[in-house]
Symmetry: C2
Subunit: 253 residues, 2 copies
């Protein structure tokens, strides 16, 4: 068996499928993709994933993309240490939450991430070079996102994104009053998704939300997440992001 | 066993989980929810689904919401007539497409649907009554969508939505050059998703896209979908939408 995981820094999408690999103790080859050098748009990588995005799982020559799909795949193929319940109702709860995070949390955390971090990178590139960079991006949406990050998102867009993040934190807080984990008694890919895309960084990135005061259960849950050996091992993977750019995030060193 | 399906007209979301029920030949109780009377925001319905949205599957007292989650649940509980492959790679392909449709097609078809159909309904309501209606909508996003439908979406938003629909049709056409169905040799929930949310109506709703000329495989695929007894049976379910509003859609009678 060969299992390769192509990924960038241990944050967001790259972290989201790294944690399950670590939790399950599956031996895999880590292939670091340097987003700072736009390696995800390079010829060899686009041959692997025509959408030009990380992460990618390659299992015995089969390529699986998109983290929620990868995480379901890992449950199907490596069920020994499960991160998804065996019963259909439990599965539906996990999928409800993963869908909620994918559609109502990730795009909005991502917008602020792009605004603060990718925007800084994009504005540091000369106009000619930036045009060439855009041409190499396979997905039209990603091209638009890079262009928007360079010019900056509108105040209305950023404010709407904050509304969505506040809604998600309140929903999470209410859920954690009912059960220790997002989808019930079991730690699942839903927790990993919310952690990687929002829970891990929301407090440090959005001081105005007063996360510790308003969402104490979320903070307690995050502490439990961070104490897990698999999560610590995933977070210890290489991080080459320039600290000047990274200092908006929790991963400052 | 009791299985109830709460749904509106046989289109979009309500159709998307109706087709699998019909394909699998599972006996279920159909409960029609009258969106024209805003029954989805009524007290009894919000008790069933706090998000105030159709459709809802109720199976032995357990409530499952969101059509992609419902369709996975139906596969897990009623696998005898499968609409999802048994092998993990096949499952991943189906999930890739369902995710693509959910995130890159549905919101944009929906925006045009809201603009043309819900907008007409919303503008027909007196301001005071409309305010009361908004107050009863549980999800903030849905409140915003109703308000936006009344005032109309911007030209830029509508044009961006068209770009997304064109991208999806081209992607679909390229895929159908490789395999008879979206996720390979097997007819799956991915086909049902794309059909219900876009494929069924895109030609009649967007004449400017010249669907027949530009996407002949999509049209051939749609014809195969429409010929299926289960699809015909689902499409024959009650449709109470005012023809004046409906005449933007394929379901005109």
């Amino acid at each position: 068996m060969t299992l390769k995981y192509y990924h960038a820094e241990p944050a967001a999408n790259s972290l989201k499928s790294m944690i399950p690999l670590k939790e399950k103790g599956i031996p895999f080859e880590s292939v670091y993709i340097d987003l700072h050098e736009f390696e995800q748009h390079s010829e060899w990588f686009v041959k692997l994933n025509p959408e030009g995005q990380v992460p990618v799982l390659e299992h015995n020559g089969v390529v699986i993309t998109h983290t929620t799909v990868i995480n379901e795949y890992l449950e199907d193929v490596f069920p020994e240490i499960p991160l998804r319940p065996y019963d259909p109702v439990g599965k539906a709860r996990v999928r409800y939450w993963n869908k909620f995070v994918d559609e109502n949390v990730t795009p909005f955390m991502s917008m602020h991430g792009w605004h603060h971090m990718i925007g800084a990178i994009a504005r540091g590139i000369e106009p000619d070079e930036f045009e060439k960079l855009l041409e190499r991006i396979p997905l039209p949406d990603q091209r638009r996102k890079w262009a928007a990050a360079r010019s900056g998102f509108s105040e209305a867009e950023l404010a709407n994104a904050i509304d969505k993040i506040v809604y998600a934190c309140a929903k999470m807080e209410a859920t954690l009053a009912q059960s220790p984990w997002l989808a019930g008694d079991m730690y699942t890919t839903a927790d990993i998704n919310f952690f990687a895309m929002c829970g891990m960084t929301v407090e440090i990135r959005f001081p105005a939300l007063e996360v510790a005061a308003n969402y104490p259960r979320l903070v307690e849950w995050r502490t439990r997440m961070e104490a897990r050996p698999a999560v610590r091992s995933a977070l210890a993977m290489p991080n080459h992001t320039d600290p000047k750019v990274r200092n908006w995030s929790r991963q400052v060193r």
